[in-house]
């Protein structure tokens, strides 16, 4: 079958002896369209060709996307199962690896109960796999302890959206409409570096005169484009959003009809925001009053605006509050559910949207169903062919699983598509927790820092060696195509889970020949849920450039814009957020007098386990650094490039200084893509948002020290 999809009149370069396979990037939520070049003779991946006709990204890619294909046939690939013997990994057959896993899993579960095994998933993989991870944990292993790396990524956005709008679809509108918006209010997102190909849509709008307001402690590449840059202190988003709403009310920018008909809590919100005068807001956020006022007027006057946010606002103990408050700004202006306006979060991982919908989360089942809800359990149990009472109860969040490893409640862990000893906060504790396990299994295709700690490493296939679907940043379900066969002995994650389930006597629940069968089951499992995929098919995805969920019936075309008539709450009305400013869990002290925040650079993805192996990307950025203002550098007498020590009560790191005026004078920034001694997550705070259980990666108090020779 021809796997090269191209629209009429669009030309690609196809070299002699090569074919193209149409797919999407494996990294961020933009899921840029691309064609992978394959040598027809030896079936090897040889390069990439822009997919000019992909509706969202138009052939554009960031450097990660351009070089993504280089990870497929990479010399570092793990090609056989590995078993650790006397501290060393030795190559093993699948039989040996599965034998060992079976005996350990069975032994531990017999002695300590089903819940002695935990599963730690991820969302940089297809919907089919993400869905199966949930089923594998609950049916294959029968454990309640499952959570996933999306907890560190999208959980606060999910929490905030659910509270205010009743449903968590990352974007309420398709992004192809963004060019028609006239104001963007962007908080805690450096989209130019983290989702670079999105920037084309903002430019399109800007070329027509759209305004840009960016809230970020740094003057990022994104903030540089802003008409107003609100350079807030990390962790003060709640005050900023309340302050803006105070002004929207004061200057009567509120869409009263919309608010009356479609929102609850307006009076309460009015009361709460009353104290957030520009003066008070400026005192907390340290943003100049006139900038706050200017931003409020631009946003307030704009007929079509989009409020957007990302991890900067979400990875805080007030993450859910922040999301709810920013969303409420859009509600006050009557924007959600209308053309070219609304609210959106930037999904960090490739399938951060789809991966959070189908039951990898401790309390969730496919289609955003809830384990706590008996009808939901009944529906999913029916699809899975188990009895409702066999469904394990709700587990705990990702970071909290490490506490359970410390106290030996969880004795074995299966990590699939994740690298928690780099991505978690306070990683010294996380590493110690994993070391306390009796047995650790990791699926990966490169030796990650987490895999190094494993007893068994199972060689997983890459994204180009399997087919399936992902759901992009907009909520559009798209198709990932298989380009080549899995390298060496590697197997897809869904095959691995099925094989283990079979060993545990659960084979009949995992009898799949191809991903499409898993997808069809997912469609049924999600049917009637909020994230309803029943009407999504592979064919429909190809026909109409993806399908936006919900698509509740087979003839449904999908729902590009949501909430046009009503919200997904019980009474159909949105709940305006009434949240005071609480402040981050850590404040500056005499010992830790500065602020530290973390984030991405454009060259790396998540824990860097893939991107740190790509030459081009390493040539651009091979190690972390600490960004600081020249005034701060001068106070500590440090120079550009000089190595300094950063510390918090949890850990320390030594890293070179990068001096720039494009950051607040009291805040330092370190990117997080490295492990071990190079990891800023040795320092970050594990304080959790009480509702979403999202750790506060973005704010902690830190000490800066000049090194003595």
């Amino acid at each position: 079958m021809n796997q090269y999809l191209v629209k009429e009149g669009v030309k690609n370069q196809i070299r002699k002896g090569e074919k193209l396979v149409s797919t999407h990037c494996c990294y961020c939520g933009m899921q840029c369209g691309m064609h992978i070049r394959v040598d027809e003779k030896n079936n090897k991946v040889v390069g990439v060709e822009p997919r000019y006709d992909w509706v969202l990204t138009k052939g554009k890619m960031c450097p990660k996307g351009v070089t993504a294909y280089q990870t497929i046939d990479h010399p570092d690939r793990i090609k056989t199962p590995l078993i650790k013997k006397n501290g060393q990994f030795v190559e093993a057959t699948w039989e040996e690896a599965l034998d060992l896993i079976e005996s350990k899993y069975r032994g531990l579960q017999e002695n300590y109960g089903k819940d002695a095994i935990g599963v730690y998933g991820g969302v940089s993989m297809t919907n089919e796999k993400c869905y199966l991870v949930g089923k594998y944990a609950r049916v294959g292993l029968g454990t309640r302890y499952i959570d996933y790396n999306g907890r560190y990524c999208m959980s606060s956005a999910a929490g905030g959206f659910n509270k205010t709008l009743g449903m968590d679809r990352g974007s309420t509108l398709p992004w192809t409409e963004l060019e028609h918006s006239d104001t963007f209010f962007m908080a805690g997102s450096n989209t130019a570096e983290c989702h670079p190909t999105s920037i084309q849509w903002f430019w399109k709008a800007k070329d027509k005169g759209a305004k840009f307001i960016v809230a970020d402690p740094r003057e990022t590449t994104t903030a540089r484009l802003a008409d107003v840059h609100l350079d807030l202190l990390p962790g003060t988003d709640a005050a900023l959003a309340n302050g803006i709403m105070h002004l929207l009310i004061k200057h009567d920018y509120v869409d009263h009809e919309y608010v009356r008909e479609r929102c609850n809590n307006f009076e309460e919100l009015k009361e709460m925001t009353a104290k957030f005068t520009p003066e008070y807001t400026a005192k907390i956020t340290r943003v100049a009053e006139e900038k706050i006022i200017k931003a409020a007027h631009i946003f307030g006057k704009s007929p079509r605006s989009v409020v957007m946010f990302a991890r900067g606002a979400e990875q805080q103990t007030a993450g859910v509050d922040n999301v709810s408050l920013y969303t409420s700004m859009a509600l006050l202006r009557g924007q959600i559910g209308k053309f070219a306006s609304g609210v959106a979060t930037f999904t960090g991982q490739g399938n951060g949207q789809g991966g959070r919908e189908h039951g990898q989360k401790a309390d969730a089942l496919p289609g955003y169903r809830k384990i706590a809800n008996p009808q939901d359990v009944e529906h999913v149990a029916g699809v899975w062919g188990i009895k409702p009472e066999e469904m394990p109860k709700e587990g705990v969040s990702a970071y909290e699983m490490f506490h359970l490893m410390q106290n030996k409640t969880i004795r074995a862990l299966h990590v699939i598509c994740s690298n928690p000893v780099v991505s978690s906060p306070n990683i010294n504790y996380v590493q110690d927790s994993l070391e306390k396990l009796d047995f650790l299994v990791v699926n990966d295709f490169f030796m990650s820092e987490t895999a190094e700690l494993a007893d068994v490493v199972l060689p997983a296939a890459t994204w180009a060696e399997d087919e399936g679907t992902t759901t992009n940043i907009e909520g559009r379900v798209i198709r990932i195509r298989k380009v080549v066969e899995p390298l060496g002995e590697s197997k897809t994650d869904w095959e691995i889970m099925s094989l283990i389930a079979e060993r545990l006597g659960k084979g009949k629940y995992f009898d799949y020949n191809e991903p499409r069968e898993i997808f069809d089951e997912l469609r049924l499992a999600s049917k009637g849920g909020k994230a309803d995929y029943f009407g999504v098919t592979y064919e429909k995805i190809d026909e109409q450039d993806g399908v936006f969920w919900p698509a509740p019936t087979e003839d449904h075309k999908g729902t590009p814009s949501v909430f046009q008539e009503r919200f997904a709450t019980e009474d159909g009305k949105a709940n305006l957020a009434v949240c005071d400013f609480k402040g981050p869990s850590e404040v500056q002290s005499k010992d830790y007098p500065l602020w530290l925040t973390t984030g991405r650079v454009v060259y790396h993805y998540l824990t860097g386990n893939q991107t740190r192996r790509v030459d081009f990307l390493m040539e651009q950025c091979s190690e972390p650094f600490v960004e600081m203002h020249p005034e701060l550098a001068s106070r500590y007498q440090v120079e550009n490039g000089e190595k300094v020590k950063l510390s918090t009560p949890r850990g320390e790191m030594i890293t070179p200084v990068k001096i720039t005026k494009a950051i607040r004078k009291d805040t330092m920034f370190v990117p997080y893509h490295w492990g071990k001694k190079l990891s800023v997550n040795q320092l970050t705070s594990p304080a959790l948002d009480p509702y979403s259980r999202m750790p506060e990666f973005k704010v902690c108090a830190v000490k800066l020290e000049k090194l003595t020779k």
């Binding site: 370069q13 890619m61 960031c62 996307g65 351009v66 130019a192 670079p196 081009f616 990068k658």
Partner: protein
């Protein structure tokens, strides 16, 4: 080919996708031929791309004693022919923009050839194809003129009027790089 390589410096977000993509072009030996620089990182994150201007009367080719730098019928100034380049590095000194690069291992120059194997078939060069920010574009001559007019219009709409002495503030980030032969 009646297309323009069109650079809009201000749009550059410094992602260097253009450089990663340059390596991917078939004839490029996995070596990039374009540049992305910070204006001054201490002051701001503004970066800008730089590629070969495909000069009409290219200094690089003129100063080449071996006639290694060929100009195609469309006017694209190609990278030096490997068998002809004698490694004297004259081109690297001759080019006013610092474009030709030099490989000290093979003792040969290499430079941007506008992805000639693509552009001669009217397919955009790799850098312009991937640039997420449209800082590099491969567009028709007329589209370029339109863009330039539009920019000035936008300024006027925003109430900014050029004064004597700052007229260039209204267009400086535009930089047309083009070949003028029609084919």
């Amino acid at each position: 080919m009646n297309k323009i390589m069109y650079l809009e410096f201000e749009r550059c977000i410094g992602c260097r996708a253009c450089q990663a993509a340059c390596r991917e072009c078939g004839d490029h030996d996995a070596k990039e031929r374009n540049f992305v620089e910070y204006v001054d990182f201490t002051e701001s994150r503004q970066t800008f791309p730089m590629l070969c201007m495909q000069c009409k009367d290219p200094a690089c080719a003129r100063v080449c004693p071996a006639n290694a730098i060929q100009i195609t019928e469309e006017g694209v100034v190609l990278s030096a022919m490997e068998e002809k380049c004698i490694g004297c590095r004259n081109c690297t000194f001759g080019c006013p923009f610092g474009i030709p690069k030099f490989d000290f291992e093979t003792n040969k120059m290499y430079k941007c050839d506008m992805c000639y194997d693509r552009t001669r078939n009217d397919i955009a060069p790799m850098c312009a194809s991937v640039c997420p920010s449209d800082a590099i574009r491969f567009i028709d001559f007329e589209e370029m003129q339109q863009l330039r007019r539009k920019r000035t219009q936008m300024n006027l709409v925003e109430g900014k009027k050029p004064q004597e002495g700052n007229k260039w503030d209204y267009v400086p980030e535009f930089f047309g790089v083009y070949t003028d032969s029609q084919s």
